[in-house]
């Protein structure tokens, strides 16, 4: 990457692999469980978090020298909540259709631990440009996991991807269903997302043993 120094590039690539916010830091699990029943919802959530986290990180980073440490968590919460609400209002006024799609995610974005986690761990101690890159990197790392989980849950649970049937019609018994395949209704439930996530964590750690914590 000629555009970024090696250190800056790491801010983006690290969260995608060995410092993934979901599988390594185990943050943002709540939303990863809640909205990954469909690929489309996963994608929308990933993009929303990308937007909120990168901008929020910059705002917090700019304010990092004036925020009193005793109330910094509250300040972070206010920044992210205000940001999300203003965006929501603007969308409602100028892109109403889009805001309808996103309204479900607003609450989940504000309470997403990755956002607070990155504000606290990174933006408060680094400059705006680095914080911006860190925001992009971590939300991409979060998004990748969301999309992987969403892919398997929608494929195995509903037999569709982005709402398009890929395995045939379960009611008319065409495609795979004609030989007795059935959708797994269980995988639609949130607990199964945890199992999919667990498998991803397992694969990741068995490929790179440095990630396994010592006890």
């Amino acid at each position: 990457m000629g555009l970024l120094s090696k250190k800056d590039a790491q801010l983006i690539t690290d969260p995608l692999t060995d410092n993934n916010p979901v599988t390594i830091q185990v943050l943002g699990i709540c939303s990863a469980l809640a909205i990954t029943a469909e690929l489309e919802a996963s994608l929308v959530m990933a993009i929303s978090v990308l937007f909120v986290l990168s901008i929020g990180n910059v705002v917090i980073s700019l304010m990092r020298n004036i925020i009193p440490s005793k109330i910094r968590i509250i300040v972070q919460l206010i920044v992210v909540a205000a940001l999300v609400i203003v965006v929501d209002l603007v969308l409602k006024a100028f892109a109403y259709e889009l805001s309808k799609t996103l309204s479900v995610f607003v609450g989940l974005i504000i309470t997403n631990c990755i956002i607070m986690g990155r504000f606290e761990a990174f933006a408060l101690a680094n400059g705006p440009w680095k914080a911006f890159l860190d925001g992009i990197g971590n939300s991409l790392g979060y998004g990748v996991i969301l999309i992987i989980v969403g892919f398997f849950r929608e494929l195995l649970g509903s037999g569709t991807l982005f709402g398009i049937p890929v395995l045939g019609d379960p009611i008319a018994k065409t495609g795979l269903y004609s030989i007795g395949y059935e959708n797994n209704g269980f995988i639609i439930m949130p607990p199964m997302a945890l199992i999919v996530l667990g498998i991803i964590i397992w694969i990741q750690r068995s490929r790179n043993e440095a990630l396994i914590e010592e006890h």
Partner: protein, 249 residues
């Protein structure tokens, strides 16, 4: 050395300043955008009502409203009459669609208040549609619907929507595969109101039987589905007396 930002006085001043700045920013944004948002909501209501009676740009599997620039004309073209039912009294009101169902439901909790029930009468291809706006509770927040019926209370079309049901599960009540199942379903059984139940373990997933008062539920969205059943039952029931008068006239 104590940092300047660690002082109590600084912390308090910062908190006050932050509240003032953020508060006025949000208030300013909300107030200045409100007219535009209200207008969007009004247009959306018209689109929803027309959608329920089959005036839409649906393609296979998609939910598409008629575009916002033609909706006002189409609304006056298709919606012939808007009425407000209040007990036995039926009045015509061209702005009945602006009635806030939530406020009516709250007001109706006091016994002395007779709830106003709006009903929109539309005509398309010489068929008459009676469209009722209803509102209920989902899992997390409000759900609502516009139900188009014929004079025998057989559903001709519905539009469901929600504030914040779980994405991918309960949020799917506004998808075609769920809404289209309601078309043709009977709300009355031999003249007695039975409603339509969003049923798990439905024996009729292909939805061939239109008089079983059941719709196939969405897996993983039990509470939202129960909310839909409850809303249809309690709200549409209120319209039964009016439909009875249609029969006798």
């Amino acid at each position: 050395m104590e940092k300047r930002t660690d002082k109590n006085s600084y912390t308090i001043l910062f908190a006050i300043g932050m509240v003032l700045v953020v508060g006025s920013l949000l208030a300013f944004a909300a107030a200045s955008l409100k007219p535009k948002i209200d207008e969007n909501r009004r247009i959306e209501k018209q689109q929803n009502i027309l959608y329920a009676m089959g005036v839409n740009n649906n393609e296979e599997g998609s939910v598409a409203f008629i575009s916002t620039d033609v909706v006002a004309d189409e609304f006056t073209k298709y919606i012939k009459k808007q009425i407000i039912i209040q007990g036995d009294k039926v009045t015509e009101d061209a702005n009945a669609y602006l009635i806030d169902i939530k406020k009516e439901q709250t007001a109706a909790k006091t016994a002395s208040y007779q709830r106003r029930l709006p009903l929109f009468i539309g005509e398309k291809d010489s068929k008459t549609f009676y469209i009722a706006p209803i509102r209920g509770k989902g899992l997390w927040d409000a759900i609502w619907a516009y139900v188009a019926m014929d004079k025998d209370m057989v559903v001709q079309g519905v539009f469901f929507d929600h504030t914040g049901e779980t994405a991918g599960l309960g949020a799917n009540i506004n998808k075609r595969f769920f809404m289209d199942d309601f078309i043709g379903e009977h709300l009355l059984s031999n003249g007695v109101f039975k409603g339509i139940k969003v049923a798990k373990g439905n024996a009729d997933p292909l939805n061939k039987d239109k008089t079983d008062h059941e719709i196939d539920a969405i897996a993983g969205a039990t509470i939202t589905g129960d909310g839909v059943s409850a809303m249809l039952r309690s709200e549409l029931k209120l319209y039964v007396p009016y439909f009875k008068t249609l029969k006798t006239n």
